[in-house]
Symmetry: C2
Subunit: 163 residues, 2 copies
DNA sequence: GTCAGTGCAAACTTTTTGCAACTAC
DNA sequence: GTAGTTGCAAAAAGTTTGCACTGAC
């Protein structure tokens, strides 16, 4: 628990084990994708990943990217984020602490919540017969900007009616 | 807090207020969609909604469904669920208690977690300057079925190598 | 050498957009 | 009457699939 099991080397080993355990082949594409994914801090899309690999002069097809990210999610090395409507976002797992996000229902802005208490609270839940890889809390609502924009709009509407 | 603010009548009123506050029109389509959405227990897709309205002999176009569900999310009357890869799932908000889901990384099966302690823990978080509409906790991992399937596969691979 | 994995393009699904017709205000 | 809304169809965006070629075992 004390040592970091999420270094590039450690994750490569874990992926290697996962592939072996499932009778899957160890291709250079798979490890290149893993490396690229773990170089990215924060979330990324399939397209981001392809761009980054392109910059490294490493070409991978879209199908391989979809295939490999799926494996990495199954190997508990990537989080598959659901927030955006259209595109799927991924994120490396750098520790086993729960992640929390605040998402505005209107502008869809996503903010990372840094609360030790919240993390501890979420972490206290241990289901039986379910191997937890990670926990994500999404707090939805209206952000200050959108809140004030809505109030402003409301005022304008009221004023125009009283003209 | 004690009275239920999520009855069909109450949500219709809240939607009415939201529309008025934003200078949007009160169309029969919008209220029909809200009513249908609140008739559904559990999650649903845009297509589900269209089917249900069709059964009620109420025709709405796909664009209207997308438009209206977006408004309902902004009005804090619907949750936009992110779990499935392809299709977006929605769910009515029936209370302000946090919801928790357990999701298998492999088979993508979704289970509702019913834990009072967990709910209380999540609920204890109150961000400043952010109007919380609801909180959702996703616990990712491997479900018992997939866990045992993986072990079985691993055994087979080991055996075939020792042949 | 064999078969899983990759790349490419085509297919498919879901969501968005443009524009004419409609209707809430 | 006017402008916001709807419906339809077409387009766009994201993801999946089929098949020939390649390379890990």
């Amino acid at each position: 628990m004390s040592e970091n099991v999420y270094t590039q080397e450690a994750v490569a080993n874990r992926f290697r084990d996962f592939l072996a355990a499932n009778g899957l082949r160890q291709t250079k594409e798979r490890f290149a994708i893993l490396r690229a994914a773990y170089d990215i801090e924060g979330t990324f899309t399939i397209e981001d990943l392809q761009q980054i690999l392109l910059l490294q002069r490493f070409h991978v097809s879209t199908s391989t990217l979809y295939n490999t990210t799926l494996l990495l999610v199954q190997a508990n090395l990537l989080i598959r984020h659901p927030f955006s409507s259209s595109t799927t976002h991924f994120e490396r797992i750098t520790d086993n602490k729960p992640k929390s996000y605040q998402i505005c229902n209107i502008c869809h802005r996503i903010t990372h919540i840094k609360s030790k208490d919240l993390a501890a609270a979420v972490d206290s839940y241990h289901p039986r017969r379910f191997g937890v890889s990670h926990r994500i809390l999404y707090v939805y609502g209206t952000c200050p900007k959108c809140e004030s924009a809505m109030r402003k709009k409301l005022k304008q509407i009221k004023n125009s009616k009283h003209q």
